[in-house]
Symmetry: C2
Subunit: 360 residues, 2 copies
């Protein structure tokens, strides 16, 4: 199903924002990629068109029954001036896994990746090159059929939009205070927590609001069945370094399988640092701290790459981690990953993919 990608020229290009103060997800480039789906036709009319508002019926099913999934990835300006992606095929695969769970028709992963590359090439002047900056890539799919019955829609739209984004941290990583949430949950086995669907994020806002009010940066989510086992931190996967070994919750069906998580595990194995994926209770984490063995805690995700945790609070009980300083391993992983992403370090895993002129 190789399809021609159409192109609609924009009359006037936007003025670019100041690349030194981009923030996240605020500015969008001149073009976007769009493709439509109708049950009788399949995915059709792939095209790069001006970034502009969408027109939707008030009865479009997405507003009512929330069939909406997305991905998040980044394009980096490499040291040699080329543009590169980080394991983008993993995002394409996860997108289809999200489709599957949400009863959304599958996409051709190779084709979408080529379309994304083509879009990025069109927008190559929008890829920032300042320290920590990147072009954030947001593919998403949602139901558009105008109908109020509860069933999978027969019409969808897939879009890819691009947003030049600033550094997540300022000059350096800064450890944050985290709050262990026991009232609200993010996801449960049998639900949709293992895929990237819009509703997961809506459901998480209330707990984040509570964390904010109490002066915490993020939430540590526990499992929904027993309120006992650690799942994720905010919108990141979580890692604990305990007595020289690294532990991260195993993928159990309610945790999102992060691309960064997978990369951290690979990297640790490559370095011969012991790493285990297993169920870990919050009690164990606090016990490890009491024994003086909790050496580092960090979140891992595309946005921040590595996000060190400086403090954990559980039921009024706060523990400081590594004296609120960035752990040595956290820093090493961060440096290695960003080094690879920016083409400054060797890439023994073949994780990076160059964005170059291609035939689709």
């Amino acid at each position: 199903m190789k399809q021609e990608i159409g192109f609609v020229q924009r009359e006037v290009l936007k003025e670019k924002p100041d690349f030194s103060s981009l923030g996240f997800g605020k500015y969008f480039t001149d073009y976007m990629f769009v493709m439509d789906y109708q049950q009788e036709i399949g995915w059709f009319d792939p095209r790069i068109t001006p970034y502009e508002p969408l027109t939707l019926e008030p009865s479009a099913m997405v507003f009512h029954y929330g069939q909406a999934i997305f991905e998040g990835m980044k394009a980096y300006k490499a040291a040699d001036g080329t543009i590169q992606l980080f394991r983008p095929e993993k995002n394409m695969k996860r997108l289809n896994e999200s489709c599957e769970r949400l009863c959304i028709p599958q996409i051709d992963e190779d084709f979408l990746l080529e379309a994304i590359k083509q879009l990025i090439l069109t927008e190559k002047d929008w890829v920032p090159d300042g320290e920590g900056t990147s072009l954030y890539i947001r593919p998403f799919i949602f139901s558009t059929e105008p109908y109020l019955g509860v069933r999978p829609a027969k019409q969808y739209k897939l879009l890819v939009i691009l947003s030049p984004s600033g550094a997540y941290y300022g000059d350096q990583l800064s450890p944050v205070r985290i709050y262990v949430e026991e009232q609200y949950v993010r996801a449960v086995i049998g639900g949709v927590g293992h895929v990237k669907t819009a509703g997961n994020y809506a459901a998480s806002l209330k707990a984040q609001e509570k964390a904010d009010e109490n002066g915490f940066a993020q939430i540590l989510w526990l499992d929904a069945k027993e309120n006992k086992y650690v799942e994720e931190v905010g919108s990141m996967n979580i890692f604990f370094k305990i007595n020289g070994e690294v532990v991260t919750p195993r993928l159990n069906g309610s945790i999102l399988p992060g691309v960064t998580r997978d990369s951290v595990i690979e990297l640790l194995k490559y370095w011969n640092i012991p790493v285990r994926e297993e169920r870990i209770s919050i009690e164990e984490v606090f016990a490890a701290h009491a024994r003086g063995e909790l050496e580092e805690v960090f979140g891992a995700g595309t946005a921040a790459v590595i996000s060190p945790v400086g403090e954990l609070t559980w039921n009024e009980h706060a523990i400081a981690i590594n004296d609120y300083k960035i752990g040595e391993l956290s820093q090493r992983i961060y440096d290695e990953m960003t080094g690879i992403q920016l083409g400054k370090k060797e890439d023994p895993f073949n994780w990076t993919v160059k964005v170059e002129q291609v035939e689709v």
Copy 2:
């Protein structure tokens, strides 16, 4: 905060569909109610405008993080030619409860109800009067702010759209086959199952697809923690008549508090029929059947009012309920409720609300 409701006239009215074959949620009237929200202003510019497509940024937060809630209610053409609503203040209250959980700004319940009445009066020719027909009312709110950071949006849209709808059943109630789902779950305590948010429905589609493939009409959902206790049936609340007593799962934080559910309970109390809200396991239900005590099972919701269950299948084990016939009590409740809704029976509870010219 009494606000004037603006009015934008439509140039050409739509041709009305054939009221004898309306189906559900397919046709929409000439006008809709719209109101916008911005953090600095609050809810503003309430207006009745032509039903027409919406224009939204591709980065509108609803597509990505799913802050979307809704209500479902009906307007009936009463026996005396007037139009009436059924306990609409309960829907307004639940809408605000949904807002609260999803970090969406509260609405003025009285004001919205008046606006809905005004919209219905504008569209009074769209209220069908055939047996079992009604004007379905869909208020909904979603985030519109163009931003990709995960946090509550600062801009929203509230709409009310109207859809003339046909009878849920043909000539009479018909018992359906139901499948007890053990793999997928609808909701969990600490999540959002007790409110009407879009993501709940998206998450439920996969199990419904499975039910369809196996020839079942609906899913019986179990609790997510233990996969043991009965929660809901499809998008309805569920009732069991066991040995002369009626039981329905108590509101535990993962079940939607249905308006119909509440009305059924009130009605049973009024009739001095024993009714209990309590945790009930699927094992108990099957045990009651084995003892010959499971007399009736029915779903309750705005769409169908009462939906008799003729068969329950759990783990390959199928049981027939009341010999696949409509239960006497199910029929009695259905007749009473629809009688009240249509103004054919007395309304000792003051449940119905007339839609008449009012000053807003």
